[in-house]
């Protein structure tokens, strides 16, 4: 019997929309009629009011049945219930007034009063109903100035500013838990709406590890299999992601912490999880591939460079790190120095650069803009001399440089000593005779 009651009770959210529609319709027709100073709609208004009364009554019954299933407590519930009943009664009286010719006999102020009261009741009840389902600040949460969001912590600009609870945990609770666990709904007696309530816990225990309880009810529930009735969030609701579970665990493990900065959590993986959650770390690429994207380059700049025939590849999609080559064929109708100038717009984004086989001379390499992130440089088969080597200083991260087929001699070797980060230099087909120098490996 109880199951049947809940079954019918759950039709409440569907049924409520019928009286809302009918009664608003009746109200609007009445307003229209008042404005046009005619009474042409009286019968239609009566019909809408009758339908509205019927459906409102059904919604009331279903609503009552739903409330018996538990999970809805407090003042809001009784306000909603009485609001619904009163609105239904007002709609019924209005119907009686409009369906008879009382409207003509009675002073019109009575009918007007009834309609306005009924409409007010409808709005009030509807709003309270919405608050019951979505939370009382659902409507205003994002409102400027007065909304609850307006008072939240400002979003962190860097990892150093992140507060674990305020920036990470609270938003997770807000998004995934609070629609049921809040002061005016109190599923399982638990509210996660404010710190006092969170510390208090729910009917089945504390969120945190306590002296008596060795387990955290929260950790236990979020790890249950989906088939388990006690699993949280319940089946059908938006689930926690693996990252969010990891973050919640870390927060619970740390004890009742509501204001510690993230950096005070020693654990690297938590730093990573939280950084990813907040979008401060790009971890879409695992392991060594994890890189911070460079400053964005706008696509018009890229298009303009590409139009000249320069080939640009992004080393990793979305990273704004580029592998750039100037193919010799583009020199057929363009000037090399001008081509090299084109690279200035993306100078800090070039990681690999191939300007080989272009007849490049020392002067042009000298004019080339500094590139602070360049790691691999191909300069082979050009006309560079010993002087060119010291020019490489403008590429502080250079690891591999290919210089084969240039006019280099042994005299350039000492210049390499300043580049401690350099790993490989290719010097085949040069006049260099020595093969080894310090840690630099020469191939050729």
């Amino acid at each position: 019997m109880e199951d049947l009651a809940i079954f019918f009770g759950r039709f409440h959210p569907i049924l409520v929309h019928l009286p809302i529609g009918f009664l608003i319709m009746a109200f609007l027709m009445w307003v229209f009629q008042k404005w046009k100073k005619k009474q042409a709609f009286d019968q239609a208004i009566a019909f809408c009011l009758l339908m509205g009364t019927f459906s409102a009554a059904m919604a009331c019954v279903a609503g009552y049945l739903l409330s018996t299933s538990g999970g809805y407590e407090g003042a809001l519930l009784s306000q909603h219930m009485w609001g619904g009943i009163i609105t239904t009664v007002l709609a019924a009286i209005s119907y009686l007034v409009f369906s008879s010719d009382l409207t003509r006999k009675w002073p019109s102020a009575i009918a007007s009063g009834l309609m306005i009261l009924m409409f007010g009741g409808l709005n009030f009840t509807g709003h309270i109903g919405g608050s019951l389902t979505h939370g009382s600040d659902f409507l205003t949460e994002y409102a400027p100035i007065i909304g609850s969001r307006a008072n939240q912590l400002p979003p962190p600009a860097s990892m150093d500013e992140v507060v674990l609870f305020g920036h990470v945990i609270q938003p997770i609770l807000q998004e995934k838990c609070i629609s049921c666990h809040r002061t005016d709904k109190l599923k399982g007696g638990l509210s996660l709406e404010n710190l006092v309530a969170i510390k208090k816990g729910g009917e089945s225990g504390s969120l945190f590890f306590t002296a008596s309880e060795k387990t955290s009810e929260l950790i236990r529930r979020i790890h249950l299999p989906e088939s388990d009735e006690e699993m949280m969030p319940p089946k059908g609701k938006s689930q926690l992601t693996a990252d969010e579970i990891g973050l919640l665990e870390a927060w619970i493990q740390a004890g009742e912490d509501f204001d510690k900065p993230l950096i005070s959590y020693g654990n690297d993986s938590i730093q990573n999880l939280a950084g990813t959650y907040l979008g401060l770390i790009d971890s879409s690429h695992s392991g060594k591939e994890s890189t911070y994207a460079l400053t964005a380059v706008d696509s018009m700049t890229l298009v303009q460079i590409r139009e000249t025939g320069i080939v640009i590849r992004e080393l990793l999609a979305g990273s704004y790190r580029y592998d750039v080559s100037i193919p010799p064929s583009v020199l057929a109708n363009q000037n090399l120095s001008e081509m090299l100038k084109k690279l200035e717009g993306i100078k800090d984004n070039i990681i690999w650069l191939n300007i080989s086989n272009l007849g490049l001379e020392d002067v042009q390499l000298g004019d080339l803009v500094a590139m602070k992130n360049l790691e691999k440089l191909r300069l082979e088969k050009n006309q560079l001399s010993d002087q060119s080597v010291s020019l490489l200083a403008k590429f502080p991260k250079l690891q591999v440089v290919n210089l084969y087929g240039n006019e280099l001699t042994d005299a350039c070797l000492p210049s390499f000593e300043q580049f401690k980060q350099l790993k490989t230099v290719y010097v085949w087909q040069t006049k260099i005779t020595a093969k080894q120098l310090g840690e630099v490996e020469f191939i050729g």
Binding site: L315, L316, Y426
Partner: protein, 493 residues
């Protein structure tokens, strides 16, 4: 000026053709259209505007998924199934077991080919060639490959390759396309489709096939594009003065005329595309334009006069003879220097069912020096840094002799359960050996690598997540590795 109206014919048959958009095209267009509308409203117009640019020349946006280690690949496919016993998988214990029957415990339940299944015995045939260790990595290499022995410290051996296919055609098709039945795109086509090109004057996928090598035939579908757009199929370069067929202008036909003719043809084709909407028309336009550019880029490639003698000496005397394996290795290097993304070589004739010692000796003689020279040459030019070299066949060979075993002659049947390949260059561990086989090189004892694993690893090295590069065809998404394959991280430096 030339102007085309949308073709409207008075002929009823033609009209019906004009109205006809292919079923698949229609579905693709409408579903894309509706999908794009929905997406637009979800993302907001501003995000639609910021759609990423294609990568390189014609690559897909959103790639690469990883920082690529290999910008180019050259795959030296040794067709026929080179014996692991006479090359890299040294099995000294076999000498003591000469002529003995292969133990049942080793053979297990494996089905043999019809060529040796009915033999009364399966006599163990140890390699008659000597092995030695080379380089700092102390890798074992047979005396047949003295040049490869010089570069072992650059090689990354996989001794534990295995394949489900025991016959040539399905095994090669499996290796080249990820599936044993014809019709899937080959590796090079996937690379071209996903990553595009770095040289607009040459195809991104080029095929070279040694002349004068006998054995099982190869088919153009091995470098075919399958269901991918046609411009991603491999373009075969032949030997001799006319390496790409139908590229040259007809006699007495002036290049400028040709250019004008192609410009008009493009307009016609574009008009055709506008009324039919078949994407293959665009592929055709792209191919005509590529062919026109290749009229100047290919002669430049095949003109070997800029190669000094010592380079020819390095690759061996054969390298002066266009179309040999050695000449193709040299050509491969020239293509890689021009940033061709995927160069596929084939050398046939490794299928020694009988007279194996003389056969394999000849194969090694024709390939060993040039293979090693390619590694050395790429290295001295700094290209081995980001070029991946792959050497291997479609399967291995049996430990037992097919046919009569004598002191100095024997044959070996196909063996898919284990065989050796190697990779070198970009991103793989140099001087490294992965995987082990038992004393009979019959079963893998450690770290097996499937063909799908190999493909997954190869894609990874090129910066592609093999699970993410897919193409929807006939209602499902296809990928090179089908539903299998994992990247073998241990191979990666």
């Amino acid at each position: 000026m030339c102007h085309y109206d949308k073709i409207t014919s008075s002929n009823k048959d033609l009209q019906s053709i004009e109205r006809n958009i292919g079923r698949r095209e229609f579905l693709t267009k409408t579903s894309l259209g509706i999908g794009a509308l929905a997406l637009g409203s979800l993302l907001g117009a501003d995000k639609m505007m910021a759609s990423p640019l294609p990568n390189g020349i014609g690559g897909l946006p959103g790639l690469p998924h990883f920082i690529p280690k290999a910008k180019r690949v050259v795959y030296l496919f040794q067709s026929g199934g080179p014996s692991q016993f006479e090359t890299f998988d040294y099995k000294p214990e076999l000498a003591k077991m000469f002529g003995k029957d292969l133990p049942g415990s080793i053979k297990g339940e494996q089905r043999l080919t019809g060529m040796s299944a009915n033999q009364s015995s399966l006599p163990i045939a140890p390699s008659i060639f000597k092995f030695d260790q080379y380089g700092q990595s102390r890798a074992w290499v047979s005396e047949l490959m003295p040049h490869t022995a010089e570069v072992v410290d650059d090689l990354c051996f996989i001794k534990s390759m295995h394949t489900p296919q025991i016959n040539h055609d399905p095994a090669i098709t499996f290796f080249q396309t990820g599936h044993q039945l014809p019709g899937r795109p080959s590796i090079g086509s996937w690379a071209s489709y996903g990553l595009g090109s770095d040289n607009q004057n040459l195809p991104s996928f080029i095929v070279l096939n040694s002349k004068n090598a006998g054995g099982q035939p190869l088919y153009a579908r091995l470098w075919g594009n399958g269901f991918l757009p046609t411009e991603h199929q491999g373009v075969q370069f032949r030997s001799g003065v006319d390496p790409v067929l139908f590229l040259n202008n007809p006699e007495n036909y002036d290049g400028a005329d040709r250019g004008r003719m192609l410009a008009y043809l493009k307009e016609l084709n574009s008009a055709q595309y506008d009324s039919y909407g078949d994407p293959e028309i665009n592929a055709r336009i792209a191919q005509y334009e590529m062919a026109y550019r290749m009229q100047s880029s290919v002669p430049e490639l095949t003109d070997m006069s800029d190669e000094p003698d010592y380079i020819f000496d390095m690759y061996g005397e054969d390298s002066r003879d266009s179309g040999t394996y050695a000449a193709n290795c040299l050509m491969a290097r020239r293509l890689l220097e021009k940033d061709v993304k995927f160069v596929q070589l084939y050398h046939r004739g490794w299928d020694q069912h009988a007279y194996l010692p003389s056969g394999i000796k000849n194969q090694c003689k024709n390939t060993d020096q040039a293979t090693a020279a390619l590694i050395k040459d790429l290295k001295q030019r700094g290209l081995l840094e980001d070029t991946l070299v792959i050497w291997g066949g479609e399967f291995g060979r049996t430990v037992y002799s097919q046919g009569k075993l004598t002191a100095d002659d024997y044959g070996r049947d196909h063996h898919p359960r284990c065989f050796t390949m190697w990779m070198a260059g970009a991103g793989v561990k140099p001087g490294f050996s992965y995987g082990e086989t038992d004393d009979f090189s019959y079963n893998i004892t450690k770290d097996p690598v499937s063909v799908h694993d190999f493909h997954a690893t190869l894609m990874y090295l090129m910066g592609v997540d093999h699970e993410k590069l897919t193409f929807k065809h006939q209602g499902r998404r296809f990928r090179l590795t089908d539903v299998e394959g994992s990247v073998i991280k241990d191979l990666i430096a």
